[in-house]
Symmetry: D2
Subunit: 458 residues, 4 copies
């Protein structure tokens, strides 16, 4: 998962700063690396580095990134290996000019495309699917205009790709035809901004215009913005995990408030799996909104049973083997006063591996809970994601091979309930044909080797 932005400013002296602040509101979408490219007088200025935005950029560096147009990227490592070579934007040069690409998503047919291009004698400097996109686009642009080239691109790429690009002096935002990853556009006194989430548009005081629709492109040139319908698709596949966990709750994605969706998940969960209890609490921070919804629906008071250490982060020295037992306690602590002698409902947004969940149930029991009821704001995750979320094998997924009853015993909870798939759809307000639910259903919206495709069924 990653965050992408594109910015156009009338006053070139603020462009890189606006892009920086826009990215800053997307920092939750990626902390591994950050980068920015600006276009100025037929040159692209590019800066990228490992770490958080504040570590990669300084005022001096932003001052050197001249130009009215900028794109940016924050990267979340899905592949394990964390290196500067993978940082984006990726800049390529060709007869088509200078093209810089920020990519959120994952191509399913990467190796197939790469092998085809290698057969044609193509040479690659990275192992990133972004280079494939950049090379293909550069080639299409030799024959076609931008919109036709994006159309060609859409016919070639399989997988998820939400892009912000500098194509010479233009900023181009583009979303794959089924719209896995979000993208939206805002307008302000100072210019335009394209960003993964609407919270980034709010943060810089811009007005939300609208989402870039699946298969749609947005082009900004010389202060003029235009939307183009590039690709058609009979279905959508908006990543449901954006609503469940990934996006910021203050964002509105494809017309749906993330906060409201999560709050609904909690409400519906309360209806589906009511249990008598004294308090509702959340696994902080991911379960907070759903647990408030649960409380509102059930009437059981919401109170914090667990407090998270706000300083848990990347530079923390992990306990060595001898002190490993601390690892969860250092991150989360129980508020005894709120737990002692109580029947506690713990709400989390989802369970992926389940290791932390088990330790937290134990911590809450130790703090004196009479009963611990675990509630999950989404259905069991049973299948891997091939589109950019870090759940890559069935082996690592707790629910891929276990019943709810087995998981309950493993977590040592008194009861355990997941939200139903229908409950989730109701909470989010989309139909099955509008969402990517692959991790919950094992049915994939595009063809993936050795997996069932949703289209085979219909």
């Amino acid at each position: 998962m990653c965050g992408v932005v594109g910015v156009y400013c009338y006053d070139e002296s603020v462009t890189s700063k606006i892009a920086y602040y826009t990215l800053f509101s997307l920092q939750h979408r990626g902390q591994e690396s950050a980068g920015m490219a600006t276009f100025h007088k037929n040159m692209v200025h590019l800066h990228k580095g490992m770490g958080l935005l504040g570590e990669v950029f300084s005022s001096e560096i932003l001052d050197k990134l001249h130009g009215n147009t900028a794109i940016g990227h924050v990267r979340y490592s899905t592949t394990g290996e964390s290196k500067i070579e993978n940082a984006q934007p990726l800049l390529v040069k060709s007869k088509a000019g200078l093209i810089a690409v920020s990519h959120n998503g994952n191509l399913v047919n990467y190796w197939e495309l790469r092998r085809k291009l290698e057969e044609d004698g193509r040479v690659f400097l990275t192992d990133s699917d972004t280079e494939i996109i950049a090379q293909l686009l550069s080639n299409y642009l030799l024959k076609y205009d931008i919109i036709e080239s994006l159309c060609k691109l859409g016919e070639t790429l399989v997988g998820s790709y939400t892009l912000t690009m500098l194509i010479n002096n233009k900023i181009v935002g583009f979303r794959d035809p089924i719209g896995f990853k979000p993208l939206c556009v805002g307008e302000a006194d100072f210019g335009y901004v394209i960003a993964s989430e609407s919270c980034a548009i709010d943060a810089i005081g811009a007005e939300f215009i609208r989402d870039v629709r699946p298969g749609e492109a947005v082009v900004i040139e010389d202060g003029e913005i235009e939307f183009f319908k590039v690709l058609n698709s009979t279905k959508k596949a908006i990543c449901v995990f954006e609503y469940i966990y990934f996006a910021r709750p203050d964002s509105v994605i494809d017309g749906k408030s993330v906060y409201e969706a999560r709050h609904n998940m909690g409400r519906i969960l309360a209806k589906e799996s009511h249990v008598e209890a004294d308090i509702v609490s959340s696994i902080p921070d991911s379960g907070i909104t759903a647990s408030i919804g649960y409380s509102h629906e059930s009437g059981i008071p919401y109170i914090e049973a667990l407090i998270k250490n706000r300083y848990v982060g990347r530079t923390f020295i992990m306990p060595e083997q001898k002190l490993r037992e601390f690892s969860v306690k250092l991150k989360v602590n129980a508020v005894k006063k709120n737990i002692e002698g109580k029947r506690v409902i713990l709400v989390d947004d989802s369970i992926v591996r389940g290791t932390t969940s088990r330790k937290i149930v134990e911590m809450v029991r130790k703090a004196g809970a009479k009963e611990v009821h675990f509630r999950v704001g989404s259905p069991p995750i049973i299948a891997p994601c091939y589109f950019g979320i870090d759940m890559s094998t069935r082996e690592e997924l707790l629910a891929s091979s276990r019943s709810v009853e087995e998981i309950k015993r493993l977590l040592n909870a008194d009861t355990l309930a997941y939200l139903s798939l229908n409950g989730l759809l109701k909470a989010v307000g989309f139909s099955k044909r509008e969402l990517c639910l692959a991790c919950l259903t094992s049915l994939y919206p595009v063809e993936v080797a050795d997996e069932k495709c949703i289209d085979q069924l219909s």
Copy 2:
């Protein structure tokens, strides 16, 4: 404000790590600098640096800090100038041996003591009151034993001082006679730990033994722990701001749960200043617990109207003048869906300068609130703190020269109410003679030049 720890481990290979993790749970008490001193074979190993713990320490550094005993410190800058010279622990050498001092607090008679010592020909390498403490203690130890020396120290120092110290091979914890700043002791399989707050004892899996009482010392030597009543006082002056804002909500200080105290503040506030509204929300993160209490008492549902960017921190590049208006938006964003058309109660723990509060009211109005009612979980702050909290002049305090009505207009709130002093006392569960309420009453528990002392009244 600062955090202090002292650790004794039977196995010397884990001491520095335990101290590190103990400090990590106190990181909220100071982010400017961090340090640790261990005693081993008649030598003190000392490491300190600027920044967060994870920036100052590495596994390699911790491995070099040998010994069964360690003290540590995290520092919060109260004086503005941030430099390595001020980092603690402070290590001094004298005929009394090696003494390392971690200090939380502020001496009111620093310059008086310093001038007196200078008259005697004393020389200082720092401008820190910790050096005064270390010099005086070193001298007392030439004539007296540790407990007598602490007694002498208590007779000399005026102000707040909670100390953890290495006095050669011993660990000594000490709290001033009126107990401004907290200190408590825990025990585990691996040894003992002394820390500013109980959350740090929880985090390393230790059992809470008890608070160090005002005027009391705790000495750990060769794995034996002993408490000593050193100083007597007819009153206490526990800093009420620890309960209002500073301490972590999962800590229990002097027998009182911080979470419960804050929750009570919200409850009582709701009783004292009820208003019809649709939702209760908080200024994140400081007002969360009080706002939940407010909701519980009033029956008005608690929901998040504002979302905080979790990555706001020290390395962030602050907007320059041209983009200054962003500064609050970058930190906090409104959830429109929760606000639009609603009567909103916003709860914060306290108001110091009020600049952010005003911008947030504006943000909530822009998001469509019909009414905005501001509620504060503590009485107006009208007087400076001389004991270590960063509120140093009356000028900077919004309420020092304004009525509640004036402040309401300034914040542009529909209504504004503060918790009453009696309400606060009830919430915390202490009497006036047990708390330092100086910032709320302008009556000081010890003599401070040009201020009224509480003892003058009684």
Copy 3:
């Protein structure tokens, strides 16, 4: 100018270290960036960074660079812009496999080749001529074996290129057909080493085998080394500046000792332009060897009139305008005792811009010299270098538009003499047809736009 190496070790645990120490002896050939690539189990491990070797590499990094084969690079910035994107080795991936390239030299037909490849739809990630070499080679390897591919490469590239490469598991060294830049091979107990200069072979205790000849390739595979005559040329164009200035004096290049060549330059200069004087001294460090030669021939005693500050380097804070006059004094100081009342001969290896020379003459005069005679161990530099040495425009070259008499007056020397071209040839021991003398003659060994080519004359 750059330094390149290739290393094969039987014991894979020492390869990266041997490569590091080999590069270390070539540090004088480039201080801007450094890098290394190793091949291990079908993967290339690559590390590069800005700065000196000791800044770019650590023991931990070297330990991670596994494999029996390694190539390395140190880069000297010729183009002004100093950035990580330009650091080498450059790694490319294609149907031909993994190819990593370290390049010393400069392609004259870079833009022509790039445009041609762009016309074919090729895409580039850098503006470096090394990427052109890597792309072309990757393509040739699809049709031809390594030697044929190098032959094709030689037919396409115009300019200077001495390469060390990883072509999958093989190490390949290659030198352009007229041999601008040096390359030689050594053998040791631990394996083989290819390096720009023989001093690097000495430094790791290896035995010098022989130079790689112009147009020749050397291939090391599985511990077997083989030389291949790839390209034929009727002429050579060994860069004479390697002997004059660039190479380390303890190197032997193409059979000629650099020390001996420089010593000869001084000797012949003394014969050609004798002058009565009391001492011979050098501009340190570049003129030392020639000045010793001058002394030996003339019988005038050699003594140091100037001492260089050994700490002048990259991290030095340059004086601002107000203190600019210091800049030379900070680097070099006069030894008054050796100068006062003396007739001084100052020998330098060459004069490029002349700004420092003028200040040094002034410094020597101020120190009390009766006469200052300036002697230069090479002919006047009158034309730019297009092959990798940092003398890019005629404007910056002092001698391009001035007579010796004019330069003498500008330097304020009592006499000035340059070595003659014939003197230089005698000193180096090569004929005109074996050296690149373009900067001294303005006749270029290959075709360069708007310049005269030596072949047009013959």
Copy 4:
């Protein structure tokens, strides 16, 4: 060994820069740490750090060091442990005001003084003898004026101490009564400078005024400079190692050119121990000047047999055990052409441990030398230095327990000769009673426990 400076500038905007450049010319006197203190409006600005000047200071930092007066320090570690706590200047505050001290030297009676002060109840923050000096001086200044206080200081301290100090708004330079370490004064348009060596005065374009004499103080206040005879002594003990090795050859110390002294050492050595040979060469860089002197006297031509890698420095990764044999080769390489078949005289300035010398003889033999004659520009070092040079125990000194014949065999030289003590005295031009020759004679100029004092003899 260390370097100290004091600077007064009329224009306060250049003071810190002038001090920086002055220190830069003394970088050879210490590379471990660097620091500077300036006095401005009753405050001292202090900055210090580990590493070279260019690593410790930046333009931004220099800009913040306001004031007309500055002192500076570069530190050479003599004690092994390298830490920031030892960096200087040391700043102390007392009734006497602000005193910052830069110290070159070593107190012999440090622990005696420290114990005495500790008995008086004094407390220390460092283990540095500089703190003793600062504490004592602060105390004397309460009763006496500056000159009297320095007099008292001189009566108390035993050992070597050359100091530059800020005593509030004054700059004070002071040299111990027997003048172990050098100090001199220069004047320029911009103000005054006090520095360890005259090369630093030259480097900033100032005029040398004169040396600060042993026992003398120099005080600069408000742009007025004054010298004071503070302490009398019947003898001097100027460190002879400054002339042999430590000082820069372009400095003039106590009226004697260092270059001339070294050149004389070579000349006299040639007379004392002539040998038939083909070339004279030096161990670079330390033996260069003496070897030129040797050549001039003997008529045997001077030529470089060995070339030093200019990049050997602190960040270099030392070879691990497996590759340890490289360590000398990486630093120094033989020029075969100059050695092959020749009888070689190798001149070094001194032999301390002898490990490198042995490897270099071996390297020269391997390069084909027919004979290797080792010549040393100073007598054998047989006794430790207690005054600040890094030769602390007899065990580490090659000559402390071996005859010249034994050392010759150990080095595997054909002949070996040291300069005689008389030869050294003649070369330097001082009498025995003017120099500290303790390391060569084992007779110490001040009383040192368990060592013979020169005064006991006379």
